[in-house]
Symmetry: D2
Subunit: 264 residues, 4 copies
């Protein structure tokens, strides 16, 4: 089973990039299932119903979120009715939405779990124990499990990678918006990448217009951050999973931008 | 001018790796100058006089540090007398040691600045302004400037990259111990990488033995972290700088481990 | 039912103060039960078996802890066998020790819960929900419930006060080591104080020798903190609880030091 | 010289309280100068020009601010022209406004410094060194110096108290909105209180409507916080300073609320 994961989609530049590149992704990687992190899809802050639809229509099969899940309040109206979108599972009991899902497409079935880290981030339930519980549950349906661990600290991400080695098929970190160069398959068969990187404006600061962010660091004064313009970049991960064992057979970074990409 | 930067050297595995691979680095990249981050060289915590000597003897020309600078108290005895080692420049006034240096080797002269971030890290002076001042000072001697920005948050690192674009020749982030896949030359000529990654045990958590770190995340109980054993990895950055302008002409990640490396 | 709570006992000065003042406390307040926070009793860091015994012998009936619970590793040897000592209840599942206890003395029965905050402190389970569960459990035995909420942020402490109003009899904050001037009975009958303050050396910084702490703020360099010497202070809270309803009838700060105290 | 400091004024309830109680304060304490922290005066978030005027008109002589200084963007229009209002001095160079001022009233002259802490708060310049510089400057005009140290951590506040003992006349902490019970004169003559507390709605969470804050802790979901309604409280500090030495002769907490206060 071939899976593509697309890192945090930021704003309209990110959405346009996804729409433009999914045909190329399909041509190049022939994924059965495409999952994307959509926590920044609406102007950098959350997601809306129409953006959700737009992403599904252009070929994304499932959406994960993160610390920006609730930034656009429209999500409260549709998250409970959208089985193809999840928010971090280890939020407080009673939180709207779900923390895991089974995505079925092209004859394949992929369990997807979304988790959020606790280092340098607001309080949450323990992501390690939540991961164990969610994966155990999902494995009753399918052995192929993708975990999007939305976290800041590399220590927490690398540690959960080792903790889930042999249980998750593919563990992809998100949130830092910078792709890490450490894709590999751990000894027990879990494909691991600390951060998938982001999909959106290449020349901002994590997708936001850079002048405002730099000024903020220099002055400490409040600033309105808007999504950057200019050239795009798409970052993500490609993996091949063995459906009989749930183990990864291959993992590989995807990283293209407006200058490096050549449409086929 | 060709420069190699080696990411945070962790413990004896990291030091052995550096000693073993510098001949290969010299063969492959022909660097005029090699700079390495040594904040974790002594068992993961700081550095000692003898380790410092050892690193210089095997071919490192200059050493930078980070938040672990003072972990081994031996440093207070020699840092003021060691012109080839710097600690973050933006520490409190009166801090022992220096925050920048000129490294001369193989007929070349490289200015080096060490800075520490303020996001998710203890208080420090403003790294942006300190960078401006240090670079202005160093440029009186040489146009080629390497900045090691030891920081946690990708936003702070990417922002300082944009801020210093055209002033620094090579801006390398350190501290997260995971190499990022974003090496590039910014529009005004600064080569930029968010994190160089680490050099040491490949299969730990940021170089430390993984069982203890995972247990710490699971239990919250205190734990003694020791440097991991097993296979090594070396991560760093290679750059070519134009000495007449100080601008970067090429930047490239270095990432090898015990399995991928083939001695020449 | 009359209850005295003694704020964080720091080091030998704190222990000596408790031993010296308990007779005076008994004379003045006639408490049925005395509870003390002991997380800093052993040189500022944790507690030992002999200190625990010493505190019980001089008249303390129950001990609560906090973020320093595990600082002295001796605790792992006796915490599971000591029914009169608790650590924060909302630590990870499987943590040694208990998070609540029933203390019986002088014909009275007091339920005691220890909780830790999550703002500006390491990850923990939700203290609000844990409080609800622990109190529900304890109320099967007694309606009089003391909660020691060991937390940094006033917002989290005041909020849990409102959340537990009518469920806890006495909610005492600890951890900041500075007594707050806000003792009062909330509308539904819970006596509330944001922080009980500390018991130990009066002229340090939170009980530690002040020169080292000030130097640490000025230099950022590592420093060994030791318990301060000099005059003592004792801070705590006195409350009267209605045993038939569990509601507080009176709450009052206790704050004396070597200069203000006159032995009776 | 008699000085009254009024803790963080929150919203319209806080402003109304100040207006109602200043006559009582004048009757009871006969202060020459009244200073108030106004960072939360406009609906809990910042301050406006008309609120500033209102506070001056009802008897406040000088206003200090804190981390909420810029929450209401109107401040950028008038802060540079208002000599009776200061924001933390240790913000980035070039920040609008001033960090210290001399307030003259009733024939007396008081130097006032505003500082912000760095523990659990965004990056800032070193408050200890900034305090030293500001006080040295102000003492050329007057020996009576009030410092409003707006900070979260008790350790940082107590430490700056010791650091400034003998240099400041009155060091009042603000920001936690809960008054501490530790007013005293340190050995070298500085009157010290860790936190003055707040002035505004008594039954909220730090002045904000409590249901929303408690729900936020329980759910982690975004929430709009509004200023609480209901009964008021006023918290502050009264001090008497020796003008010939700048040392404090007396310090005393002020804490009244709608139930305890009896108009004279
Ligand atoms: Fe994101
Ligand atoms: Fe995020
Ligand atoms: Fe490091
Ligand atoms: Fe580091
Ligand atoms: Fe304590
Ligand atoms: Fe504590
Ligand atoms: Fe405030
Ligand atoms: Fe504040």
């Amino acid at each position: 089973m071939r899976v593509v994961f697309i890192g945090d989609i930021v704003g309209n530049v990110g959405r346009d990039t996804v729409r433009r590149l999914i045909p190329w992704i399909n041509d190049k990687y022939h994924p059965h299932i495409i999952i994307a992190n959509g926590e920044n899809a609406a102007g950098g802050r959350g997601i809306t119903a129409s953006i959700t639809r737009e992403l599904f229509e252009c070929g994304v099969h499932g959406i994960t979120m993160g610390n920006h899940t609730w930034d656009n309040r429209e999500i409260f109206e549709f998250i409970d009715d959208e089985p193809r979108m999840i928010r971090p599972s280890n939020l407080a009991p009673g939180t709207p939405g779900r923390g895991s899902m089974i995505i079925k497409a092209n004859g394949k079935s992929l369990g997807v779990v979304n988790l959020i880290g606790r280092t340098f981030l607001p309080p949450a339930e323990d992501p390690f124990r939540t991961a164990d519980e969610e994966i155990e549950q999902l494995r009753r349906t399918t052995k192929c499990i993708l975990v999007d661990f939305h976290a800041e600290a590399t220590s927490e991400k690398v540690a959960i990678g080792w903790h889930l080695d042999g249980y998750a098929s593919l563990l992809v970190g998100t949130h830092t918006h910078v792709q890490t160069n450490d894709a590999r398959i751990l000894p027990e068969g879990t494909a691991y990448v600390t951060d998938a990187g982001m999909t959106g404006p290449r020349d901002g600061v994590l997708g936001m217009e850079k002048e405002a962010v730099v000024r903020r660091f220099l002055t400490g004064l409040p600033a309105r951050f808007t999504v950057a313009e200019g050239k795009w970049a798409l970052n993500g991960v490609y993996a091949e999973l063995d459906e009989s064992t749930g183990k990864a057979q291959k993992v590989q970074l995807i990283s293209v931008d407006e200058d490096s990409w050549i449409a086929t």
